[in-house]
């Protein structure tokens, strides 16, 4: 089974996304033999109040409950976030939250963010942190949003060892504390392969060596990104088939089943 832990629905503020509706995304998944995808609202990345984006995703996911796994975009610096989290979990059945600290004006190290992580962990929701949304070289003249700092991520996963994190849309982990074997960090986070290399520098191979096959997950970034590069990485990755099976879906299934 192939499970994509890095997918989205809806409009994005700075570029028209193809296949941004539920039916379109499902057709793309069918063509690429992707069984399930964790989806959150692309619109909520730039909405001040993210909950209408979550409402939209919930409606789309409800119609494809066997394929789409809805995640909530929650901004812990915005009024009513705890009510939104409750609604997303209890009413919409959302299985995870996505955090955009650099877009939403807070840091992962802020107390309010840790409150959100605690609340989500109590509900056994997976906490997904996109390190970036788009390549920074193509950013709009309106915004300058840096990548989520790895040091902030490391501080958060260290401070909340009982929570479970999925780091998506990042690159350069192998040279950071998050990708080191002897970092002293808890093994409470996984890393998706969407922006990692599988040949030449082969960051996926480095992370397999450093962290082990339980710590990597499949992610495409669709529909922001084409899904094929991530699929190709699994094809060409020099790793035993059991390790590839874990990356392709087993690790994600385990994380989503709790």
């Amino acid at each position: 089974m192939t499970i994509d832990l890095n997918a989205y629905l809806g409009h994005f503020a700075f570029r028209r996304l193809p296949q941004s509706t539920g039916p379109e995304l499902i057709r793309l998944m069918d063509r690429r033999r992707i069984d399930k995808a964790a989806v959150s609202s692309a619109s909520a990345i730039t909405y001040r109040n993210t909950q209408p984006g979550n409402d939209d995703v919930a409606a789309e996911a409800r119609a494809h409950a066997d394929r789409l796994i809805p995640f909530a975009v929650i901004n812990p610096s915005y009024a009513g976030w705890l009510d939104d989290l409750k609604e997303c979990h209890e009413r919409y059945g959302m299985r995870g939250v996505r955090l955009y600290p650099m877009w939403h004006g807070y840091r992962l190290t802020d107390g309010v963010c840790r409150e959100l992580v605690d609340a989500a962990a109590e509900r056994k929701m997976l906490i997904s942190i996109p390190i970036r949304v788009e390549d920074p070289r193509q950013r709009s003249w309106l915004v300058s949003v840096p990548d989520t700092p790895f040091d902030d991520v490391a501080a958060l996963v260290r401070a909340r060892p009982a929570a479970r994190f999925a780091l998506v849309n990042g690159t350069g982990y192998a040279g950071s504390v998050l990708g080191k074997a002897d970092s002293g960090l808890p093994a409470n986070y996984v890393i998706d392969i969407a922006l990692l290399t599988a040949v030449i520098q082969n960051e996926i191979g480095q992370l397999l060596t450093n962290l082990g096959p339980d710590r990597l997950v499949f992610g495409t970034g669709m529909p922001f990104l084409y899904p094929d590069p991530a699929l190709l990485k699994l094809d060409v990755l020099d790793a035993p088939e059991p390790a590839k099976a874990k990356i392709r879906g087993e690790n994600a299934a385990r994380l989503l089943s709790r």
């Binding site: 390549d135 030449i200 084409y226 590069p229 094809d235």
Partner: protein, 284 residues
């Protein structure tokens, strides 16, 4: 020449990536690749890793240059790079094709360097970086030499907003510079480098819509959904060239993913570049 390559690819056809990438009989040419500067202690290993990656992904030939780590480079520095490319062409026969990298600021040396490597050693093109804007007068003698030699010019390019590139690369060219150069030299074969690594690709594609002699190269780490389709729609399938610029699965994956006919995919993956290379072969 291509028969050997094709039979080699046939051996690789069982690899899922290779089988999925190209329609049968297509020679896949990466129009934008780099070998590693020999100041990198791992250059041999990394060059071999590039060829291994090409094998896995079904890429038959790679058009390669070596750039100096520090720029602007002087004549001794770019000559050294080109010698290393020539050595790699011998080390990886029929897999590595050579771009001659020069700094246009050294007009006499740069033109002589290009003529030497194309005429005497079979290099297939010239690679220009960001020492000058593409439409600056310093570049013109090289463009005129490339026209005479019937070789393409691969121009490093990017367009960002709010100083994305300008601070670090004050003379980086963009689609606008290339369009102006094309207007001055419509017979030149110009390639605008890495749509997938040059910032706002929608801007670049639109800037080049009417510059019909400029090709766009799909390379770079950015795999934005829709990039290839927009390039095809705006520039047309005759002007789109497959490339990776060392982002191998990104380069292959986006061409595999994009919606197009098999005939168009064959054009992008190799047909268009073969047509470019054949112009030089006719001269030879």
């Amino acid at each position: 020449m291509f028969r050997d390559v094709l039979s080699r690819r046939a051996l690789l056809a069982s690899a899922p990536a290779a089988a999925a990438l190209a329609p049968p009989g297509v020679t896949v040419i990466d129009c934008h690749a780099h070998l590693h500067h020999h100041s990198n202690a791992r250059w041999r290993e990394l060059d071999k890793a590039l060829i291994d990656a090409a094998d896995k992904l079904g890429i038959d030939q790679l058009c390669c240059s070596i750039l100096t780590p520090a720029r602007p480079s002087g004549p001794e520095q770019f000559r050294e790079c080109n010698r290393w490319v020539a050595e790699a062409m011998e080390r990886f026969p029929r897999r590595v094709l050579g771009y001659c990298y020069v700094n246009p600021g050294y007009t006499r040396e740069a033109v002589a360097e290009l003529r030497h490597w194309v005429l005497d050693r079979g290099f297939m093109g010239v690679k220009l970086y960001n020492e000058y804007f593409a439409d600056e007068a310093a570049v013109f003698p090289l463009i005129e030499a490339a026209i005479e030699l019937r070789v393409p010019v691969l121009q490093h390019a990017g367009h960002g907003h709010a100083h994305t590139f300008r601070d670090s690369q004050p003379r980086i060219s963009d689609g606008g510079h290339l369009a102006r150069l094309a207007a001055r030299y419509p017979e030149a074969m110009l390639i605008c480098a890495h749509l997938g690594g040059g910032g706002d690709w929608e801007w670049t594609i639109k800037a080049l819509r009417h510059a019909r002699s400029v090709y766009v190269d799909t390379s770079g780490s950015v795999t934005d959904n829709g990039l290839i389709e927009l390039a095809l729609r705006v520039c047309g399938p005759d002007r789109v060239l497959f490339g990776c610029d060392m982002s191998m699965t990104a380069g292959v994956g986006k061409v595999r993913a994009a919606e197009m006919s098999d005939a168009v995919r064959a054009q992008i993956l190799g047909g268009n570049m073969q047509r470019i290379l054949q112009r030089r072969n006719r001269l030879a």
